[in-house]
Symmetry: C2
Subunit: 315 residues, 2 copies
């Protein structure tokens, strides 16, 4: 397939870099200020080297990639809340040209799901978004295969930054602020960690799952009950440990409700994944409980989910 990529951060760059390995051609790549487009395939290595050296991928207008020669547009700009722009506009432009869209950006499907489905219904293109939930872990594809009607609950550890902090607090008996500083030094946490530690990121992922499960009702972040881990006292983890339990930031979609909160989980249980790993549990009517775990973030990991979506478009 010919792929246009909007966004040249860790995910967009990994998609461009790995596309050839999966048999695809990158015909356009845009960052926030520029683009490079070539219907016969851009020179990815040179483009990414230029981005590294000069901060921009090319000389073109960033919007030029939207009208380039691609079969599928990969939208990998940062997630924004509310009107989900500019990601939503990119998706809209591609669908109006009857092209497919694969999202890494959570905004459009977390904040404007009904609008996305309405645009898709009027297009020959299809929208897929495996990469928006759980990084490399196949979450939405599993829901699609098992059948949304067959799934009674989805819960999981869906934010690697929060999980890293909780794992370190428990293992070392350290205070929240101290571990946060360490995580920032390691690049695991952003300088403004609110999105991760307040539970917003995990909640957006759960909202996306809720939209996929519901079908008839639209969820947004406003429908989620969210409590983060900011300021969690170190002794909460000590007390949990004395009872062979630990604390994880767990997101859950069940009975039409979306909740994210720190929860006590068995120390050696499936939910107690450590470090930046994620885990998702599906409760099903006929298949019992299923657990999937793996890397929930990272450029190549997220790109892998994007290529899985593209392979399903191919069918």
């Amino acid at each position: 397939m010919n792929i246009g990529v909007v966004g040249a951060g860790a995910v967009g760059s990994a998609v461009a870099e790995l596309a050839g390995e999966y048999g695809h051609t990158v015909t356009g790549l845009a960052d926030s200020g520029s683009s490079v487009v070539d219907p016969s395939g851009i020179d990815v290595a040179t483009t990414l080297e230029r981005k590294q050296r000069t901060g921009v991928v090319g000389d073109g207008d960033p919007e030029a990639v939207l009208s380039a020669a691609y079969d599928v547009l990969v939208e990998a700009t940062p997630t924004t809340l509310g009107d989900a722009q500019p990601g939503f506009g990119h998706l809209e432009a591609a669908l109006k040209l009857d092209r497919h869209v694969v999202l890494a950006n959570k905004g459009p499907v977390a904040e404007r799901y009904a609008d996305v489905r309405a645009l898709e219904a009027q297009s020959e293109g299809t929208v897929r978004f495996e990469a928006t939930v759980g990084g490399a872990i196949p979450v939405l594809g599993t829901i699609e295969d098992i059948g949304p009607d067959q799934i009674t609950a989805v819960r999981g550890v869906l934010n690697g930054t929060a999980n890293f902090i909780l794992s370190r607090m428990a293992a070392e008996g350290l205070a929240y602020e101290q571990v946060l500083t360490e995580a920032q030094d390691l690049g695991v946490a952003e300088s403004d960690p609110a999105f991760d530690v307040e539970g917003t990121d995990a909640a957006l992922k759960c909202v996306i799952v809720a939209n996929v499960l519901a079908g008839d009702r639209e969820y947004t972040l406003a429908d989620a009950t969210v409590e983060g881990i900011r300021g969690l006292p170190a002794n909460a983890l000590e007390l949990a440990g004395e009872d062979s339990r630990t604390i994880r930031l767990v997101g859950e979609v069940r009975d039409g409700e979306v909740r994210v909160a720190p929860r006590l989980v068995p120390e050696n249980g499936a939910m107690a994944v450590s470090g930046t790993r994620n885990i998702v549990q599906f409760e099903t009517t006929n298949a019992g409980p299923l657990f999937h775990s793996g890397r929930g973030a990272g450029g190549p990991e997220t790109a892998s989910a994007i290529f899985a979506d593209i392979s399903r478009l191919d069918d």
Copy 2:
């Protein structure tokens, strides 16, 4: 879709019973000695009640189901080795009529993979077989989505009976023979447990994975190095436990080799699933390691995998 079902054991019966819930119609059901066929849909409840009461599903010739009005044939007769009959013949009949085939029977894809692919290439029908590996766990679908070329190894605990025995031996310090008898009493082990405890069942599943990963080379049971758990001394588990490890019957496909053997695994690690649960680990080039766990057997659980295959045929 209209579904024909061959085999009326736990899996075939569950497929017939649940088909309506997934929006499908059962137009034929056969056991080894009889069949019932109705192009507008058989009465599943009455048919299964008759099977329970009299031992047969109907009055028709069992072969009649093969030429009935179905879009997909579900082959759920017992796995056989060597020529994989009669399952292979059922698959052949359906493909020659340009119908799809979904296998629960491991024989055709473990013992005659090249023959299956050759028949499929000459048919409008497609063959899928998610249910042959790991019960409810999406193993083959995950390999398909990530891409066989992207997967460097697959390993896992793939036989619930052997795992139940090992879990009980470790937890209770009991001898192999004693736990086997208990497992037979509970219906977890067959009266002839060889297929499970000698590793054959796990090896067939690994051979199927090897065939899917390889593409260009055919694997059969003869290509697998297989060691089972029969006669494993109780003190092997005790010794492992002293070192915070336990023993699991692990199957592995890596570098073109298929191996099944009892292996030491960390007691609290992902591989140490207990009871009849299965787990599969995928090592990938770009997505890191992924772990999937869940129920590896059971009628509704296996039927769930069959319906997942059918939904992918629909696309």
